[in-house]
């Protein structure tokens, strides 16, 4: 089969391939085997597929594709890839193509007054950022700040959105270096030009050192927090005073109408086990809490009993942790070295990471799984880069270099954007990433 527009080199070898895809009809090509030069790279394959699509659909806008052979992304020329993986070039090769994962648009950076320490994009309606000026901000879009959460007396180290079922409005938890956590409530319907300043409805005291991280249970009833006092504490998020679980609920400025009432909460339970600063916690399932610490360990906790169920030991200090991927079981963590490691706790008897990505040049400050994809990760590092990873290749899919200084946090937003904040006081949004 002869395809016009394909640069054929007479002297190069040819391989029989067939392009398949799981993409929707406008992007499909006839599943017929064609002979292509074996020295084609990803770019060549991409133009080829675009041409094929254009043949059937004349008003098709070209777009980059990525190619999978036997579940592995092609990152070199086709013949080299076949040689490296020792795949026979004799039979018809089945190449699956997917949309290339790379940011297509760089939004205008949202400026902060100080370093952006944390960011949460788990709610597609808005972004919450924590800042070194001890304020948390809520952004509707790039450069559109809707709310300012004020009340902390020190740097906000971590923010987390709480998805509470059956509660209208939005609840946000923030952890700060002033040893407290605060819970905030606001509505997204407010669309005023000036950002609204809000005070916390609940202050959670109990940590003796700065709180480093906060994570909410998926039902939204509880949050857990890790601190420099090497403890993990679990807190209730409800605001009703009638809740009997809370030991002491004080109404501080109840009489004052101008101020909203502020509740104080104490920890429901404390998970003790780490010996150093707990740098990151996640609570993906109802019953399990994952925590990463500076004592080089990742611990799994039973949320009900507070028992430490299993440990994974790394040799480095861990700064960030996320759980996701295949059946939401893979643990990705980064720390005081440029290597992003991924463990599979289901694998018995080994504590060696199953994947290691080492393209960064400095400490890794954040890593997040894509919440829909099994394969995609975003990581940020002190070298000022945000990288997108696919488990099916050892090279980063894309490198976002929008920051001038250390990147302190990164997250996915709306499933197709990467948000990151850094020491250059900017919140950068890279959108148009077609993961699925």
């Amino acid at each position: 089969m002869d395809i016009d527009g394909v640069n054929e080199e007479e002297n190069s070898r040819r391989v029989q391939v067939r392009f398949v895809t799981k993409l929707k009809p406008p992007m499909t090509v006839p599943p017929l085997p064609i002979a292509i030069p074996s020295n084609l790279t990803r770019l060549g394959l991409s133009t080829l597929v675009n041409n094929l699509i254009q043949n059937g659909n004349p008003d098709w806008n070209t777009q980059p594709f990525d190619f999978l052979i036997d579940g592995e992304l092609v990152r070199m020329s086709l013949d080299k890839f076949l040689l490296a993986k020792s795949i026979s070039a004799e039979k018809i090769l089945e190449i699956e193509y997917i949309k290339a994962v790379a940011p297509r648009k760089e939004e205008e950076p949202s400026l902060h007054d100080d370093w952006v320490s944390s960011v949460d994009g788990s709610d597609p309606r808005f972004i919450v950022t924590g800042c070194y000026d001890s304020l948390a901000r809520v952004w509707k879009a790039a450069g559109e700040c809707t709310h300012i959460l004020e009340g902390h007396s020190d740097v906000i180290a971590s923010v987390g959105v709480i998805n509470r079922k059956g509660v209208e409005g939005i609840t946000v938890a923030t952890a700060s270096k002033d040893c407290t956590l605060r819970l905030w409530k606001f509505d997204t319907e407010d669309s005023i030009n000036d950002p609204i300043r809000i005070r916390a409805f609940k202050i959670l005291r109990g940590h003796t050192k700065s709180v480093q991280c906060v994570a909410a249970q998926n039902t939204g009833d509880m949050v857990c927090s890790g601190s420099w006092d090497s403890m993990i504490k679990l807190w209730q998020t409800n605001d009703s005073q009638s809740d009997g679980d809370l030991v002491s609920i004080k109404k501080r400025k109840g009489n004052d109408q101008a101020d909203e009432s502020q509740l104080e909460g104490e920890a429901v339970s404390t998970l003790v086990g780490h010996t150093q600063c707990v740098s990151s916690v996640v609570w993906p399932q109802q019953e399990t809490i994952y925590s990463a610490s500076w004592d080089h360990s990742i611990r799994l906790w039973d949320a009900e009993t507070g028992k430490n169920s299993s440990d994974i030991f790394c040799t480095k200090v861990l700064n960030c942790l996320d759980v996701g991927g295949e059946s939401s079981a893979l643990i990705a963590a980064g720390g005081s070295d440029p290597i992003l490691r991924i463990w599979d706790p289901r694998k018995p008897g080994t504590s060696a990471p199953v994947f290691q990505f080492s393209s960064h040049a400095s400490w890794i400050s954040a890593c997040k799984w894509h919440d829909k994809s099994w394969f995609h990760l975003v990581s940020s590092s002190y070298d000022g880069k945000v990288m997108l990873w696919d488990l099916r290749t050892a090279w980063p899919l894309a490198v976002i270099e929008s920051h001038k200084d250390k990147v302190l946090c990164a997250d996915w937003w709306k499933g197709d954007s990467v948000i990151s904040g850094g020491a250059d006081s900017k919140l950068c949004i890279s959108s148009g990433i077609s993961v699925l």
Partner: protein
């Protein structure tokens, strides 16, 4: 053989003597001749061997000493004798005559003595008809002949008589009993009457001749009076007549040696046929046996350029030859290669004599000394160190930098939990940093350059002691939760005493003040404070004023706001002070020595002699028994307090001053930083087993700082919980090296 030679000598001497005697006194010989009848033995001795005694003895002894063939030589000597005695006309002229002739000779009265003498010596002297010589007659047993006569003709055997015949013969012949069978000549000989007489006399033990007088009067033939040379009259000693025991012993020894194979007579010693001129003398075993032998150096062998027709590349161009003239004579090449068409056309070498002369000078003027070269692989001398990979973790790479100071960072300190970092700089600021992100949290500004910062070792009291000029500030960092802050504020609250009563002595040393500007306490000292060290419990801290002389080291108590001098006498300029990590021991390092004092008993426990020119820094192992000391000359000393007061190891790593040394609190690591812009990380394992010495392994050189005003890295501190190293540089940057 030697004996023989000696005898010969003796004989020759005697002969010459006798000759002399003969010359002087010819009459004696005549007399001698006259006396020959009486003394038959003397006739021989005159001409041949011994003047005094009978020859048979002498000849016997001579022959004995000769190897093996006794009989042959004897017969030779006899022949000689007979020849020499020819002048006297005593020769057996007719050999063929046999026994009869002899008998006739013997019957002659004048010459009978010879016959007697010869018959004495051996039976073979009977005039031989047979010439086969002294061979066993068995050889001829089966032959028809018994031998050969003088003409070479066979002598036939006579027919043998059988016993009956011989018996009859003996019975017939009355004289048969006188007959003797001569086996040699195969004939029967009849003994004459004279011979019979001789035999009977001999049987009686008398002299064979009746006319021989054994007791003849002694005639002194020698005329003693006119003799020129005195001659000994002493009788011949006995030992000349008995066989030598020593000789026989020697012979036995030799025989044994030959039998045992110790003496090998078969192989003659091989001698080197030629001299290996170009060989390496040093390797020749023969000469190397001599310890003192040092072979002369060989002269250089001629190379290609010395060839009469060298390749073109060896031949210098004219320019080069000209340039040789400009060179010093010593540098000038001695030989300029040239080409010749044939060997014949080569001229004589001008410098031949000179070269040989110089070579000779070299050979004997140049002292040759044997150099002892030790053939040891230098690698094998290195101590076996564990691999660096096994000693992980240790700081390797710099990932974080803390930037913000505008001048050299002089001192850093890390909070006990490892979350915060305090740094003091020459720009007069103290900054608090977040270790994790490199964020500068807080800045205090002072009028003077900051010398030293030190966190309180307690995690609950996040306060920093800062020395600025003559003052020490205790600063509240504002970290920690509210309760802690409350405590700290109480601690740092100081009310100036209303009545300045005790301002006499103590105030002059150090005075406490509340400092509102920096929200802390200010301690004013009377001299510049160089360092501040906290006690592990966070209440006491010590300050060092190098110029303070006897009051140079002070100990302050924060809770009571009280200052006291140390109760010890200080010797030398104090550099820094330290509290023991566990015991009540206080270390003060002066420029030369480190002293350990017991604070409870208030006495000196130990003095460590560093042997360094100027101590710059000191650090104590968390176990408390090991101390490292850095010096301005770049040396680092490790002291094992239990072992000795001398350094256990001296590490010379830095080419420039060591500015600080540090131990890690939990990992077996220590580090030193220097003005050469590097920091060294070592593995320093201290074993709880007292028999095992500490293991020190250099691990890593940390580079990255740049030099500024000749200063490099000013301070280094380990992270209290992680194997990380912070270094503060004169380039106003603080770096964090991670594993």
């Amino acid at each position: 053989m030697k004996i023989k030679e000696e005898k010969k000598k003796r004989q020759s001497v005697r002969n010459s003597k006798s000759e002399e005697v003969q010359e002087e006194q010819p009459s004696i010989t005549e007399q001698n001749k006259l006396k020959q009848k009486q003394l038959p033995s003397h006739s021989d001795s005159d001409s041949d061997s011994d003047p005094d005694y009978g020859s048979p003895y002498v000849s016997d002894s001579e022959d004995f000493s000769e190897d093996g063939d006794f009989d042959g030589s004897l017969s030779d000597s006899e022949a000689g004798e007979s020849e020499s005695s020819g002048d006297e006309g005593v020769v057996n002229s007719d050999v063929d005559d046999g026994l009869h002739n002899d008998q006739e000779n013997q019957s002659n009265s004048s010459e009978s003595h010879q016959g007697v003498e010869e018959s004495d010596s051996s039976e073979d002297e009977v005039a031989p008809r047979n010439t086969v010589g002294d061979v066993p007659l068995v050889w001829y047993k089966d032959e028809e002949h018994i031998g050969y006569d003088l003409d070479g003709k066979k002598i036939k055997k006579r027919t043998r008589k059988d016993k009956v015949e011989s018996f009859l013969e003996s019975a017939d012949d009355a004289k048969n009993w006188l007959k003797v069978y001569d086996e040699y000549n195969d004939e029967e000989v009849e003994v004459t009457k004279k011979e019979l007489k001789l035999i009977t006399r001999l049987l009686k033990g008398k002299a064979p001749h009746s006319d021989f007088d054994p007791y003849a009067p002694y005639v002194d033939w020698f005329k003693w009076d006119d003799a020129k040379h005195p001659l000994s009259n002493a009788p011949e000693p006995k030992r000349r007549f008995i066989p030598s025991k020593w000789e026989s012993k020697k012979v036995v020894k030799l025989v044994r040696a030959i039998r045992m194979g110790l003496i090998k007579r078969d192989k003659p010693k091989e001698e080197q046929q030629f001299y290996h001129l170009w060989g390496d003398d040093s390797s020749s075993t023969e000469k190397a046996n001599h310890l003192s032998f040092i072979p002369a150096p060989k002269s250089k062998l001629p190379g290609h350029e010395e060839s009469y027709n060298p390749s073109l590349e060896y031949i210098p161009t004219q320019e080069e030859i000209n340039s040789y003239q400009l060179m010093f004579e010593e540098d000038r090449p001695k030989f300029i290669p040239r080409r010749y068409t044939s060997l014949r056309s080569i001229p004589a070498y001008d410098n031949a004599v000179k070269d040989v002369f110089e070579r000779c000078l070299d050979l004997y003027l140049c002292p040759r000394v044997r150099k002892k070269r030790i053939n040891i692989d230098p690698e094998s001398l290195k101590p076996k160190l564990p691999s660096r990979r096994d000693l992980k973790p240790y700081p390797v790479t710099c990932y974080l930098e803390y930037k913000g100071h505008t001048d050299a960072v002089v001192s850093i300190s890390i909070e006990a939990s490892g979350q915060w970092l305090a740094s003091g700089s020459l720009d007069g600021t103290v900054r608090i940093w977040e270790v994790e992100t490199g964020r500068c949290l807080r800045v205090w500004e002072f009028e003077e350059a900051v010398k030293f910062v030190a966190w309180n070792p307690l995690r609950e009291i996040p306060i920093v002691a800062v020395s600025v000029g003559q003052e020490v500030f205790i600063l509240n960092t504002g970290l920690g939760d509210e309760e802690e802050q409350k405590k700290i504020k109480e601690l740092l609250h100081y009310e100036t005493p209303v009545a300045p009563d005790d301002s006499g002595d103590k105030v002059s040393v150090a005075s406490w003040h509340q400092d509102d500007k920096h929200e802390g306490i200010r301690l004013r000292h009377f001299k510049t404070v160089s360092s501040v060290e906290w006690h592990r419990k966070g209440d006491y801290f010590s300050t060092v004023m190098p110029a303070g002389e006897s009051r140079a080291v002070l100990i302050h108590q924060l809770s009571k706001k009280h200052t006291q001098r140390i109760p010890f006498k200080l010797r030398g300029l104090p550099v820094s002070s330290l509290f023991h990590p566990t015991k009540k021991i206080f270390f003060i390092s002066t420029k030369k020595n480190v002293r350990a004092y017991d604070l409870q008993k208030q006495k000196l426990i130990k003095k460590l002699e560093t042997g360094l020119r100027e101590v710059s820094s000191i650090s104590v192992h968390p176990g408390g028994d090991n101390i490292i000391v850095g010096s301005r000359e770049g040396k680092l000393c490790w002291f094992d307090m239990d072992l000795s007061s001398k350094p256990y190891r001296i590490l010379k790593c830095h080419p420039k001053d060591i500015t600080n040394v540090a131990f890690h609190r939990s990992y077996p690591l220590f580090a030193s930083c220097s003005d050469d812009c590097t920091a060294y990380v070592f593995h320093g394992m201290v074993y709880s087993d007292l028999n095992q010495n500490p293991l020190i392994v250099p691990l890593e050189i940390l580079r990255g700082h740049t030099s500024s005003n000749g200063r490099g890295v000013m301070d280094c501190k380990f992270h209290p919980r992680q194997p990380w190293l912070f270094t503060a540089g004169a380039d106003s940057v603080i770096k964090l090296y991670c594993h």
